[in-house]
């Protein structure tokens, strides 16, 4: 497993470096504003948004590259002739994604708990609480990986698999918002939803459930494609 994880790291090194840089950079900029005395609370909000988008992109790229990448450069054939079960290979790829996501989650949690919530501009119960709820972020990440996994199990282009995974999440996200909120007076209703903590909590709960369900289904089909089917 150690060598499989090492190989995953080497195969995804560029993605990790770029994704890591884009994830850390916004917080680094906020840190710089603190040092220079020009800090404002909204900077943390913006940095959080930018970083979580970078993290989601990173996961989408990892998922898209998981199988399609090695299929494209044909190194999958090298692995195929070794006595490695596909279940073990799948386990290594999923474990690698978890290892990558763990620090992302920890940093995000630390920022929310130690920089965002205690910030002077934050008022409990205001729409700002929306950002402190990390469930949509987690749900998106899980679905990005699941959907990306489904596409990477069938395609030979890592880019296409990643993009399709992103499209699934964006479509679901936009579709969910439009189903949830009446289109008449959309923006007023949207603000009202953000202010209604109970209603917002319900909406987040169901969104999370839908994302996780879709992710599990996508991942299962993708794994079945990869593990269960020898090429016919």
């Amino acid at each position: 497993m150690k060598w499989l994880l090492w190989r995953e790291y080497r195969l995804n090194r560029l993605i990790l470096i770029a994704g890591g840089a884009f994830f850390v950079l916004p917080y680094a900029i906020v840190g710089f504003t603190v040092l220079t005395g020009s800090y404002q609370m909204t900077y943390v909000t913006r940095a959080w948004l930018a970083s979580t988008y970078a993290a989601q992109l990173l996961i989408a790229l990892l998922a898209g590259n998981a199988i399609a990448g090695e299929r494209a450069d044909r190194s999958a054939e090298f692995i195929a002739y070794l006595p490695l079960s596909r279940r073990r290979i799948v386990a290594s790829k999923v474990l690698f994604a978890l290892l990558v996501f763990t620090p992302v989650w920890c940093v995000t949690r630390v920022v929310i708990d130690n920089a965002y919530l205690p910030a002077p501009g934050y008022v409990s119960g205001s729409p700002a609480h929306v950002l402190s709820d990390l469930r949509p972020f987690l749900a998106n990440v899980v679905l990005l990986y699941g959907a990306g996994w489904l596409f990477t199990s069938r395609l030979s282009s890592a880019t296409a698999a990643s993009v399709l995974g992103l499209v699934v999440v964006i479509l679901l996200h936009v579709g969910y918002v439009f189903v949830l909120i009446p289109q008449k007076n959309f923006f007023e209703e949207f603000i009202r939803l953000l202010n209604d903590q109970e209603r917002f909590g319900d909406a987040v709960f169901w969104y999370t459930m839908i994302c996780i369900s879709l992710a599990v289904i996508s991942f299962s089909i993708g794994t079945w494609n990869y593990v269960g089917h020898r090429r016919s």
Partner: protein, 307 residues
């Protein structure tokens, strides 16, 4: 014929029984039945598209046959492919290991996949082929890549070696070194070897049994010495320029040029000459020994003209 010792293994190392493999509607392998004994060196010869690589992929459990059964070293290739790969050393035509890895990293990676990896064998082979540990795979020449593939295939001390046209594109020196490496390993360990190649010279040097594959079908499968002894070319003169209709059994291929009639006959016996001589309009019957290459060509040409 073979330079190799026979191992003490019993029973077939490879068993294919009525194997069909269809890609769409076209058969890549067409009812192939084949048995290769433990410790033998089997040469699989066929033109491009004959089904050699498809057959090997089915042996390694990478392709599922459309019908029929494939067993390797007693394991079913459909359900026990991982066990097969644990016991088989495979050298492919295209050496597709990760190009960014260093030699020592490829070795380390493969080592982690095999429970029977022998570091001493590996080190000895790497030193023998002068493969530098720190060199990246993408920096290796074709000859060095082939040698590295052989090191990886042999270091886990497999029971069987499958060589799928590994020497295509190699210069004669690299080819010689590769074959020497295979021969030495097989002589030391008595492994079963399946060698798929276009080169009949390599087959004659390495193999004790041979199979001719064409259109996914096995045209011949025999010990090379027996095959050469039992298959002869016959030259005769036709008095009226056209061959007789009732040919003797075992005719693989025939050709008429003017009044000269050439035919290649399998399962040849002294009576075969008598039978051909007795045919109406046939005289001056000569028997000619032919080599493996001509024999292979005659089998394929005969099959082509029949289809």
């Amino acid at each position: 014929m073979s330079l190799l010792p026979q191992s003490n293994g019993t029973g077939p190392a490879i068993e294919l029984d009525g194997v069909f493999k269809l890609f769409g509607n076209s058969p890549a392998v067409d009812g192939l039945s084949l048995s290769v004994e433990h410790g033998s060196t089997f040469g699989l010869i066929g033109p491009n598209g004959a089904g050699k690589s498809t057959t090997i992929k089915m042996l390694m459990g990478l392709l599922a046959p459309t019908s029929g059964s494939v067993r390797v070293l007693g394991h079913d290739a459909g359900t026990e492919a991982t066990q097969i790969r644990q016991k088989v050393g495979y050298v492919p035509e295209l050496h597709l290991m990760d190009r960014w890895m260093r030699v020592k990293e490829v070795v380390g990676f493969c080592r982690s996949a095999f429970s029977t990896w022998n570091d001493d064998t590996c080190r000895e082979m790497l030193d023998r082929y002068e493969l530098p540990d720190d060199k990246k795979v993408k920096q290796l020449s074709k000859g060095m890549l082939v040698k590295l593939s052989l090191v990886l295939a042999i270091s886990h001390e497999p029971e069987m070696l499958i060589l799928d046209e590994p020497m295509s594109g190699l210069d004669p020196l690299a080819r010689e070194e590769f074959l020497d490496g295979v021969l030495q390993t097989v002589c030391d360990k008595g492994q079963t070897v399946l060698l798929s190649t276009h080169s009949l010279g390599d087959i004659q040097r390495m193999a004790d049994t041979v199979g001719f594959l064409y259109g996914g079908r096995l045209l011949a499968h025999s010990n090379i010495d027996d095959l050469l002894a039992s298959t002869k070319r016959v030259r005769a003169t036709l008095t009226n320029g056209s061959p007789p209709e009732n040919l003797p059994t075992g005719v693989v291929w025939q050709q008429v040029e003017g009044r000269e009639w050439l035919l290649t006959v399998a399962d040849f016996t002294p009576e075969t000459v008598q039978k051909i001589g007795d045919l109406q309009g046939v005289e001056n019957v000569d028997v000619i020994d032919i080599g493996l290459e001509d024999l292979f060509k005659d089998f394929v040409k005969g099959q082509r003209s029949n289809s």
